[in-house]
């Protein structure tokens, strides 16, 4: 149920306390019948097309577990699904680190070195303050167009 229906302008506030409507989930059996052959296909492609043995074997075993779990024992299916999600998350985290960590050291590490050599500290950390005051005068707003900008 929509909380606020803009057509009727009705405020269905009681829906706030109710759980959001959940889309009907696909039946586990159907999911298993789609996922298991797809996984088996990928395993076959890796084995016959690229001559790999270990990874396709793991994928094939998992596809059997998905099928068996989906058809006969749902906790097994859910366990494989959770494992898959964890693996996916770890892949994203790892790729993030592999890409971003060297970027960080190269760009920011090098950048800091250059700024340091020039005697610049973007955070103005020199302590205690040398000046009489730490108030910084504010630039006057030249044009009201400034309010449309994100910077």
């Amino acid at each position: 149920m929509k909380i606020h229906d803009e057509k009727t302008n009705q405020w269905e506030w009681k829906a706030l306390g109710a759980p959001a409507p959940v889309k009907k989930a696909m039946a586990i059996q159907t999911k298993a019948l789609i996922q298991a052959p797809a996984m088996l296909g990928i395993a076959a492609l890796m084995y016959f097309g690229f001559d790999h043995v270990v990874v396709p074997s793991i994928v094939a075993v998992l596809s059997v577990l998905v099928l068996a779990g989906g058809l006969f024992y749902h906790p097994l299916f859910h366990a494989v699904e959770r494992g898959g999600r964890w693996f996916g998350h770890m892949v994203i985290v790892t790729v993030n680190w592999i890409l971003l960590a060297p970027f960080y050291f190269l760009v920011f590490g090098f950048g800091r070195l250059v700024l340091r050599l020039q005697g610049i500290d973007p955070m103005d950390r020199a302590y205690p303050a040398a000046a009489e005051t730490c108030w910084l005068p504010r630039k006057k707003i030249e044009s009201l167009d400034q309010y449309r900008k994100q910077h």
């Binding site: 909380i3 706030l16 050291f105 955070m123 103005d124 730490c134 108030w135």
Partner: protein, 609 residues
Amino acid sequence: MNILGISAFYHDSAACLLKDGRIVAAAQEERFTRKKHDERFPMHAVRYCLHEAGLRGDQLDAVAFYDKPIEKFVRILKTYFSVAPQGLQSFMMAMPVWMREKLWIPLEIETALDACGIKMPQDALYFPEHHESHAASAFYPSPFDSAAVLTVDGVGEWSTTAIGHGRGHELDILFDIHFPHSLGLLYSAFTYFTGFKVNSGEYKLMGLAPYGQPTYVREIYDHLIDVKADGSFKLNMELFGYLDGLTMTNDKFSEAFGGPPRKAESEISQREMDLARSVQVVTEEVILKMANHVQALTGEKNLVMAGGVALNCVANGRLLREGPFDNIWIQPAAGDAGGALGAAQLVWHKVHQKPRTVVPSKDAMQGSFLGPNFDAEVEAYLEARGYPYRKLSEAEWAPEVARLVASENVIGLCQGRMEFGPRALGGRSIIGDARSEKMQSVMNLKIKYRESFRPFAPTCLEEDVSEYFELESESPYMLLVAQVRADRCIGQAEAASLPMRERINQKRSDIPAITHVDYSARVQTVNRERNPRYYDLIKAFKDQTGYGVIINTSFNVRGEPIVCTPEDAYRCFMRTEMDYLVLGDCLLSKTDQPEWQEKGDWREDFVLD
């Protein structure tokens, strides 16, 4: 002209709607989603605002977002340029969020509005600067034609503190202090160090301060902050962790302040109390200096304030007593939620050059009752649910509720429009008898499920304020702390020598439930114009007992947002040991209600703050 103000994506997201400059509605998203400090786009609050204003989705003229996201991003990049190769972990956490969400705010707003069925107005999206939004939220709704402006918080884009001048509809920020030098972050560092949660535990630190001695004030000045005569300051970043790490303080800070930070939920020792008191004293002293400076700059007798630090009501009380201003007005939603209001008002008054209409002694916040009102729907709701209730007539409502308060019952009160801002002001409050000796511990332990040291605040009739407190002015938004009148206090001389546990339980005045250990109280005054029903209730209580003052605490349990709907109120009522619930005209007694059945431990729904 209809202007929607939005604050979102950090903490306390909120929406506000101005119709030809008048504040029609404002609400925080957390109240609807039931997630405390919800930072997501305020879909529910936006929908509510449009509904309250009676607008269709194609009738918005402008949208104002409360800060400049790209400027903030530049500040974050510059931080990494100043700390690399340290800071990698913080970078790894921040970057994906920025890339995914925060760099595309116009798109995020358009998509979210679209999902609400609202058409984004063409070429009318505005981004005022964060502290300008705070300043606008302080000045424009204030009852002053002209005023000095002071905004203090953790950080916006670069500014952490700003001073300015408001005249008519003109508002200029004159000077500011830049990140990482921040009074708000100094206070948050101590919040973290004493084992409370940053961004929500600051209140607890303030409540803890009266139990301690200011023994660390010298250390704070020696090691942490260099304060100039004009109140400007710099922090010694060698001792803080928030630039290059994931914590507010670092090992050097621990060395300087007697050991590592307190672990959350562990026993609070005298050190934490002394630290709380010390940082509170330093904060007050810096604010006083800043206030003197902005007064000298502007020559004003009025001051307006906003920003998270403006919620420090102990400092506000001292500023009123010792500061150079005759009048002080503080935006009740002083934190970032209020930025939504300020941003919208800036667009109206500054971009569109619309004049202000100032009514002396009357601000434009309408008592901060800017949220939804469910009174008309309560009866139908209770009937549908089959919850037993008694409908009170207009004549019996106030005397009957007052009678229950006077009999030491704890009562949940959900009536009228919901408050905008962190304080419950009688619309969504839990009330009790301020004269009762057992009320503080009953309410803390059986109703709020929170730490026993935390004090409760009073609401009193505006005309009676000086009968109970050392305060002459009104305090409608519970943002001023004042001393309980000396002639009402008991045992002040002995109190200082007692250990903390005994001091908590000591009777300190004839209104012990709202008298804090230092004989102070966070006062709310109420008049008939702002909240007639709440006023009538306290007036009836006075007629029955001779006391025009009651306890008022927010209607929620620890970690839960304040209730919004009658449904939230009923749930909270049944989960706790409250005795009665007032929903609009309807009175519900706990003993009449069907047994409350709930699966699992409901307290797991809320993250402890």
